[in-house]
């Protein structure tokens, strides 16, 4: 219904403020329509909080991963006029000769030839794309912000995600990355977890280039540095498996189960000289294999610190390092936090274990000698990374501070002696440069939200890959600042290590002096007092004394508490 009310006003009164007055005239009365009430529900009064601020919403957008396939095209000649049959050689030749006789063709060719001539001669005269002052660019100051760029992310294509436990770069072309996937949590591997490990081409993150199908998930995987088609892997059930990429996804040969390890094989290393492999596992053995004969290991070493070859006392091995310049020695990092150096050429099994270094509180996840100064090696365990010198067995020469989350893997940079990388359980990657800062990492990057389990730097030092708990391998490129050798760097780093080694030696000698002094003092006191068999008793006495003191302190604290309470009650009472 239309409501209309007409009124007149003088023009001179336009724009005047409105004067409202009461009137008894009712123009329109619209009564409420009770039938409409059925369309509404009465809501209880409620208290609603409001906020006078901008309303914002968060959206995440991610492009779909694009799957690309490379295909080639075969070109066939076309464009021949209808009268000419392209297959027939005579006819085509005749056609071509006819074109060549055309005047227009000849003029064109003369003209074009002069153009081309000019350019060819230009090319031959100088290189028009020559880069001048290429070598002089390195004068840049090292104060630039160090960053790393994410190049590619390789995700585990399976539904059930597994941890990427080990990475290995292809030795020559550096375009391929072999990743070993397994679930390291004891008995938590889901039933339908796939056992496959993959070789990825770094250009193609959508689909792995090759699948390796072992019988049991692989914990570690290494390319043979001499022959890039051969890979050896250590699996979760203790077997060593080896592949030849030319012969497909299935292993060429597996070690016999009876002679393999009893626990997952955590590290496999190739020996450069002979093409043999070492494997280390937490069952306490280091086995030496010849690839061609996998039925039995050539040699075995039991990591018994008592040097008796006892498997029950053996320490579980988690990491291993073998340096090509020292072919007779190798080092093993154990679950118990000790680093053991072993001698290959020892005569008796007892002599095989040369010495141990202990300072860590937990399993040593990574162990590597500095590629430039083999006397110093890096260990990554618990919440710190430490650098040791071979000569000093008591403690490390340098150590990072205790981090908030545990460090799970680390490695030196193959091009710069002072740079090493570590990864942590909270998903951060740290790059340390010993010449710049020793207390803090030079670069700290949060790669992902889950723990990072493995890291490997490519031989040229520029790219590195890190693997996470959900099987995501991230490839990063470092700034040139972290991968080009600086002036004087080798000299400075060797000075640094020597200085720290000397300091370590001095500390050690001081400690020894003090120990000897104490011993001589205690011997003297024994002679004076005449207490011979009292050593054990004094221990018990000390224990009893300690207990007594402890309870005394507890009682005194309790007493103080009660006094405080009584005072408070009295205060309140007043």
């Amino acid at each position: 219904m239309e409501i209309m009310y007409v009124y007149t006003k003088k023009c001179c009164e336009f724009g005047h403020p409105c004067n409202f007055s009461e009137s008894a005239v009712l123009h329109v009365d619209i009564p409420p329509n009770p039938s409409l009430e059925a369309n509404f529900i009465e809501e209880d009064l409620c208290i609603v909080g409001t906020q006078c601020s901008q309303k914002m919403s968060e959206h995440e957008v991610n492009t779909n991963s694009m799957e690309s396939v490379s295909q080639g095209i075969n070109h066939v000649e076309g464009g021949w006029p209808k009268s000419v049959n392209a297959e027939n050689l005579d006819v085509t030749n005749r056609y071509k000769k006819k074109v060549e006789k055309d005047e227009h063709y000849q003029n064109s060719i003369q003209h074009l030839a002069s153009l081309i001539d000019h350019c060819i001669k230009q090319n031959n005269a100088t290189d028009i794309y020559q880069e001048y002052f290429e070598d002089e660019e390195v004068v840049e100051e090292t104060e630039e912000q160090q960053t790393a760029k994410f190049i590619n992310v390789f995700r585990d294509p399976n539904k059930v995600k597994r941890t990427a436990t080990c990475l290995s770069w292809h030795p020559n072309s550096n375009h391929k990355l072999a990743v070993a996937y397994s679930c390291l949590e004891f008995q938590r591997a889901p039933k339908d977890m796939s056992f496959d490990s993959y070789i990825w081409d770094i250009e193609n993150p959508c689909k792995p280039e090759m699948t390796l199908k072992p019988v049991s998930p692989l914990v570690c995987l290494e390319y043979n540095p001499k022959d890039s088609h051969i890979l050896v892997g250590g699996s979760y059930n203790g077997q060593i498996v080896y592949w030849d990429t030319r012969s497909g996804s299935h292993p060429v040969e597996m070690s016999a189960i009876e002679h393999s390890h009893r626990n997952p094989v955590y590290k496999v290393i190739w020996l450069h000289s002979t093409g043999d492999t070492f494997s280390a596992s937490t069952d306490g053995q280091v086995l030496w294999w010849d690839i061609r004969k996998m039925s039995e290991p050539i040699d075995r070493l039991v990591l018994d610190p008592n040097k008796k070859g006892n498997l029950e006392d053996a320490l579980g091995a988690i990491s291993m390092d073998f340096e090509t310049t020292m072919p007779t020695k190798f080092m093993v990092g154990t679950e118990q936090g000790l680093v053991v150096t072993c001698n290959l050429k020892a005569q008796t099994p007892a002599d095989k274990i040369a010495c141990t270094y202990s300072s860590h509180h937990g399993p040593i996840y990574a162990l590597q000698r500095n590629p430039f100064y083999p006397k110093c090696f890096l260990t990554v365990a618990d919440w710190t990374a430490r650098i040791w010198s071979e000569d000093i067995k008591g403690s490390s020469i340098m150590s990072t501070k205790y981090h908030k989350s545990s460090l799970l893997d680390g490695c030196w940079s193959p091009v710069r002696p002072s740079v090493f990388f570590t990864v942590k359980m909270d998903g951060t990657l740290d790059a340390w440069d010993l010449l710049l800062k020793q207390k803090n990492p030079t670069l700290s990057l949060k790669v992902c939200y889950e723990a990072l389990y493995s890291i490997r730097v490519q031989d040229k030092g520029r790219f590195l890959g890190c693997g996470s708990r959900l099987g995501t391998v991230t490839m990063l490129e470092m700034t040139p600042g972290l991968c080009t050798l600086q002036r004087n760097e080798k000299g400075l780093v060797s000075e640094l290590f020597e200085r720290e080694t000397k300091r370590g030696k001095i500390l050690e000698s001081k400690q020894r002096e003090m120990f000897l002094k104490e011993r001589s003092l205690s011997e003297q006191s024994k002679e004076v007092g005449g207490k011979l068999g009292d050593e054990e008793e004094s221990e018990e006495e000390l224990l009893a004394l300690a207990e007594r003191e402890f309870f005394e302190i507890v009682e005194s604290c309790k007493g103080k508490d009660e006094e405080n309470k009584r005072e408070k009650v009295e205060d309140r009472g007043c």
Partner: protein, 110 residues
């Protein structure tokens, strides 16, 4: 009065010149091959083997057309005079004409 006939001998001479020109281009330092392609993409003259020739002719013909149309779209008064593609291994030079294309592949020696 003698009628001057347009006789045959003049044409072979120019043809011989054309032959010489093409031979000269091929003999320059670093030149790997020379191809002459007509307006339909048919290789008329080539010093490379037939499959490579077909490959180059087809692909570069299309690329030249695209390059030319690009230049002319930007400025209709302009026209493509030369196209040079420098790759890691060698340099491909294309001299376009209204009807023909002269393609030279050179390895600039450094």
């Amino acid at each position: 009065m003698m009628k001057r006939l347009f006789t045959q001998p003049a044409v072979p001479q120019q043809q011989a010149e054309v032959e010489d020109t093409l031979k000269r281009i091929q003999s320059h330092k670093g030149v790997i091959g020379t191809i002459v392609v007509n307006g339909e993409g048919i290789p008329i003259r080539t010093t490379l083997d037939s499959s490579t020739t077909v490959l180059y002719a087809g692909l570069l013909h299309q690329l030249t057309l695209k390059a030319r149309s690009t230049v002319r779209d930007i400025d209709p008064q302009n026209d493509l005079t030369f196209l040079r593609i420098r790759s890691k291994k060698h340099e491909i030079m294309v001299a376009p004409d209204k009807e023909y294309l002269l393609i030279v592949i050179q390895n600039p020696s450094e």
